[in-house]
Symmetry: C2
Subunit: 218 residues, 2 copies
């Protein structure tokens, strides 16, 4: 809010710019800083960026983490296909440029939530390392925590909760991640969740433990 | 999160759909509902949509409201040019279609913040009634509170905190609201703030009083 203070410092009262003192009683213009929000919430703001194949359990683990954090009083939110695809990104299709723009906007919105002091989880396949790097960069000094939800393709395809793999194998869906489109395995994710070895609660606990171990919450 | 529960109800365990009971011990998939967030915050989520001429004091009043709400423990955020124009909407220019898209995206992001249980203030000129109506509609059953920051053009032009009116009068800026582009005065805003009669704190108090009177916070 620095520029606000700079450019609209005193629309209501005259300030003597020479002495930086008001010629009248000035109502001090105030805004809530990121640090104020963090202090009130009792934890840092951060993005938990879940990435993995369709059916890997991204949304499930993200929501379990969200619940676990909410239950200890943290301020949280989840961005996923349900609340983003038909709203903010409802104008985007599946071309390469739209795919990049989809991830960029999610990153920018996540950044706003982090600025607001929330622990925000995003659950999108986000198959390309370049797109994930773009989000990490735009977050700047705000914590970007990449959570690789690592579930073997065979397991995802067996689960196939939405019947999408079946359609992709039948050629009804083109460019389906893991079938005829690549998934760039994260090279060095902050958190590597292997769903084959643990149940959902254990996966979620692993994420929460990371936040605690890294001083993002107590 | 209904569709999440519907489509990814059990990626980890087999559920007997006939009896809706697990064939094994099921870890109950949980997600945090909007009502859970509202209950934890102790107030409703809502958009305070500040509209008014450049220099009317939108950002100033919005930030004062935000501070007042934050100081009583509410969970809040402000969306304004500082955090939206160069981020999420950095790809947009000033054409008619970009202008509409700018407001639409801000509306969609505000909706996500409301869903997260926050009292989110937006501070954009948003001169056209049609654009503001679009946002009101996309908010659906979520509270959309239009706050008309009513400051006479002469006063705004006299303040001219960013020197924009001067440039507009000199023809250096085209399509400037109030000079050579229309401002649709809100026909029936929820809150009508008249900055000529009150100082910033009184304006902010008027908004907070509205929230209390309408059961959005205690």
């Amino acid at each position: 809010m620095t520029s606000l203070l700079k450019t609209e410092a005193s629309p209501y009262k005259e300030i003597d710019s020479e002495t930086d003192k008001s010629t009248d009683v000035v109502w001090h213009l105030a805004s809530v800083s990121h640090q104020d929000r963090v202090a009130a919430n009792g934890h840092q703001g951060a993005v938990l960026w879940f990435t993995g194949l369709s059916g890997s359990g991204k949304s499930t683990v993200a929501n379990a983490v969200d619940k676990m954090l909410h239950d200890v009083g943290a301020k949280t939110y989840v961005l996923d296909g349900d609340n983003v695809r038909h709203g903010l990104n409802g104008d985007l299709g599946f071309s390469d440029s739209d795919r990049i723009e989809n991830i960029r906007r999610i990153g920018e919105v996540a950044k706003l939530f982090v600025d607001a002091g929330l622990l925000v989880s995003t659950a999108f396949i986000s198959p390309f390392a370049a797109d994930r790097s773009l989000v990490r960069e735009l977050l700047g000094d705000k914590p970007f925590i990449e959570v690789f939800v690592d579930t073997p393709l065979e397991v995802c395809e067996q689960r196939d909760p939405k019947g999408l793999y079946k359609k992709a194998r039948a050629g009804e869906i083109k460019h389906f991640t893991g079938i005829d489109s690549a998934y760039d395995v994260p090279a060095s994710p902050e958190i590597h969740v292997q769903t084959a070895n643990q149940d959902v609660q254990q996966c979620a606990q692993q994420v929460v433990d990371y936040l605690r171990a890294n001083g993002l919450m107590s």
